[in-house]
Assembly symmetry: C2
Homo-oligomer: 236 residues x 2
DNA sequence: GTCTATAGCACGATAGAC
DNA sequence: GTCTATCGTGCTATAGAC
């Protein structure tokens, strides 16, 4: 029983539909399957909440079971191990994490598209703070379990979008900025408000659930990323 | 033995010089005290490395002992508990984390000062990636142990610097930007390169130890924060 | 101050009845 | 599929000799 496993065994659990260890939205369960899919979803939700707060090793199966309104034994009926729950959650996250990138299309207006992308990311951070933070936890610890997906699907998506940005620059529709650095800066600033919410709350006593602060945050990130702060008469 | 304690008992360990549970630089140990101070430092260093990779609960006392070249029993001679090591490390980090803020003085040139600050933060991220990441881990999990310090000393420092930035704006030396959002954006972008190094490496296969990439990163953050990306002829 | 030995228990995972 | 009971062990922390 290695404490820090490298990869998950293929050990299939019931209700896992061949590939997507998800249980929320893929093949649409029918009739009897609905109940077990609902339980899997509840477990993943409970795991998300607890893993994001206490980490993989800090959260316990007993707590997850309780939060999901399931007995501890039952947990092991649906998932073979703690790590299996963890990676199932992470895989789900990754998709929703880069989905907003779809908006960066070649034919779109760069500034408008980037501005919209920033808004979407901040809104996502507000609506899914736990997701944002769990993703952060995994990456910060070196992405031991998500690494392969990052090098695979994420890299592919990012490379494609970098091409779009590069085309915008070449067309003179955007200042000469490195595409990857631009994306990293957007990710950094938008997720910061979810991931470092504890720090922000400690310093200024606000968070994104405050509608006014949410809009101010979006505006300021858009401003900093899109306009800069160098003085030139009328500010903003 | 509560698994997730709220605060550390005052239980003093030998070699802890009254206040600073640090052991590296404060009262300058003399003669015999040097050896035990060196061991404490080694333990804190080992803890930093392991906690930042595996989290508070993921790292084990046995591993820390081995990494610090100390027997496991000896570890408990120098520190009363695992958490005591953890908080001692965090307290150290906080100081070095906001020390670079000193450069933001009212009499300085805003753009130059902010540019220099960005450089310092990125350099710090390169030289202390583990520190950056451990700090991130703690905040992301809600800062359960560092919360009070954030609301105290960090808030005080930030409020002071926000005043400086506000004065710059009032004097017309800087565009009208919210001071807190500006600071948050700088923290977000600079630390991103240390904290999300695994992701960046997965996507573009580089990290800050590459001197060329380091300089490109600094330049791009400075550019994005200071200049923005809106098209206006010659880019950068 | 450093060691060997071990207490003590929380927690991941399993057995097996129903 | 869900339960009760329990195993095995990894891990924090202590005891006590030297």
């Amino acid at each position: 029983m290695p404490r820090r496993a490298k990869a998950s065994r293929p050990a299939k659990a019931p209700g896992a539909p061949a590939e997507a260890a998800d249980g929320s939205a893929e093949p649409v369960p029918h009739g009897r399957g609905r109940k077990i899919a609902a339980k899997r979803t509840a477990i993943l939700g409970a795991g998300l909440k607890l893993f994001s707060r206490y980490g993989l090793h800090g959260a316990t199966m007993e707590e997850i079971a309780k939060a999901a309104h399931v007995s501890k034994t039952n947990l092991f009926y649906y998932f073979a191990s703690k790590e299996e729950i963890y990676v199932a959650i992470l895989r789900q996250l990754l998709e929703s994490w880069f989905a907003p990138l779809d908006g960066l299309k070649p034919e779109a207006d760069p500034v408008a598209a980037i501005g919209a992308y920033i808004r979407q990311k901040v809104i996502f951070s507000r609506d899914n703070p736990d997701a944002s933070r769990l993703f952060c936890l995994e990456i910060v610890q070196g992405a031991p379990l998500l690494g392969p997906e990052l090098r695979g699907v994420l890299k592919a998506v990012v490379d494609a979008k970098a091409g779009v940005i590069r085309a915008w620059v070449a067309a003179g529709k955007l200042a000469a900025v490195d595409p990857h650095h631009l994306l990293f800066s957007i990710w950094a600033t938008t997720q910061h408000y979810a991931d470092f919410a504890a720090q922000i709350d400690a310093v200024i006593g606000r968070d994104l659930t405050d509608e006014t602060y949410l809009e101010a945050t979006i505006a300021n990130i858009q401003r900093i990323v899109l306009d800069g702060v160098r003085p030139r008469g009328a500010g903003g």
